[in-house]
Structures are given as C-alpha cells and as structure tokens.
Symmetry: C2
Subunit: 126 residues, 2 copies
C-alpha cells in the first residue's frame, strides 16, 4: 500500500551551546547539523538556523511540514542526529499532522519544547 508522506523541514540551531562548553570547540548545534547533513533522507530538507530561541535548552531542532503541527525539541545532544531523523520520519508518515507519542525516540519525549498548530489555519471555524 502506498502511503502519502509529508515533506518535512528539519531546522537545526547551529549556535546552540551549553554553559561550560569549551568556547573554542565546535558548537554542539553545529556538530548536530553536520551529522544531520550526512543522514537526512529523501523527502526531508535540512535548514540551518542561527537561533531557534531555545537557548536555555539546546541543542534545538524544529520540524515543520505543510498542513502539520510544527514541533520544537530541545535538550538534544550532538549525537542525536539518528533520533532527529526518526522523529522527522514519524511526522512525515503522520496522516493527521500530529507526531505520535508512541515510537518517539526518548529525547523527543523528554525534550518537547513546543508544538504549534498548522498554519495557515485551514478553517477558522474548525
């Protein structure tokens, strides 16, 4: 059975750094982004962002897809790239535009920062 899949944009903050991180070392957000560049599958687009505003809880990733909820995750580590891909895949496969809780990698349960309804509103009366 062929299932429709959503195109997903994976936004990664490349600026994220935690207190105490070596200021001369590559930033954790940049390391996460570099790992993602090698892993992002067809149907997903990687977008590097200067700041997702989640500075207290980096590394930060936001997932957007047309007609779907937008999700922001934080408290991610630079080695989270495979989990980011799994989470993006969950959203890509979601029929209703919501990322199911079940099947989320653990960091994407603990690290949920926010979710925003699809925009533009499909029907203000809904």
């Amino acid at each position: 059975m062929h299932e429709a899949r959503r195109e997903v944009v994976i936004h990664v903050c490349v600026t994220c750094r935690r207190e105490g991180d070596d200021p001369l070392a590559p930033r954790p957000g940049t390391r996460l982004a570099e790992a993602l560049e090698r892993l992002v599958p067809a149907g997903a687009t990687l977008a590097l962002v200067e700041c997702l505003g989640n500075c207290k809880r980096g590394c930060s990733v936001a997932l957007s897809s047309e007609g779907a909820w937008t999700y922001v995750f934080g408290d991610l580590t630079p080695d989270a790239a495979p989990d980011v891909v799994l989470a993006a895949d969950l959203l890509a496969a979601s029929p209703d535009g919501l990322m199911p809780w079940r099947g989320r990698p653990e960091p994407f349960k603990r690290g949920m920062i926010a979710r925003i309804p699809p925009f533009p509103l499909k029907d203000a009366a809904e």
Copy 2:
C-alpha cells in the same frame, strides 16, 4: 504613509495550569484566552488550542503569520492579554517577519520559548 501589515494568528493554550493552581478554578490559560477574546484587534485571529506543548512554562501563546517567523512565549500570566496584543502588533508591523526585541513587553523578552523560521521555505538556497 501606508504600511503593509501582516495578518497574525494568536494561538492560546487553554489548558495551561501551574503546579499548585486550584484545580477547581478556571485554568489560567482559559482566563487568558477569555481576556483576549475581548481585545483581539482587526487583522488578528484568536485560535484556542488544547496544548502547545509548553506545559512546564505556561501560560503559553504562539504567534504565526504568513512569511514570518513563528514565536512561542511562555511564563505568561492570565492578565497578559494586553501584552499579547502588543506583541502580535509588533509582528504584524514587522517588514522582515522578525519580531523586534525593542518594544517587546517585558514578559515577551523573558518568556521567549522558541522561534521557528517562516514555512514553507521561500528559497532553500537562502
């Protein structure tokens, strides 16, 4: 001079409650939403949401506008409605789709939770 203004959607979480809140009292998020219903100006749309995923730092508001960054704010109080309208107005008037820092009501400086780039991406090469 006539300036173009953006239509803004103000998403308000009506479920938000803080630890220790009276479980029988109306939820702070609902009280904020009710106050906003009386204040939302022309050019803005109020959207009540069950959960914006920012449960640790409610009350929560997300501001969306076509071609603009989406902003999520938390740690808001039920009496923040006038500040929400001011923040929405800053985004509505923004020529570049970014909410300026200057002029933001204090709770919208302290309470920034996340910001997400415009979607869909205008130009992936940018």
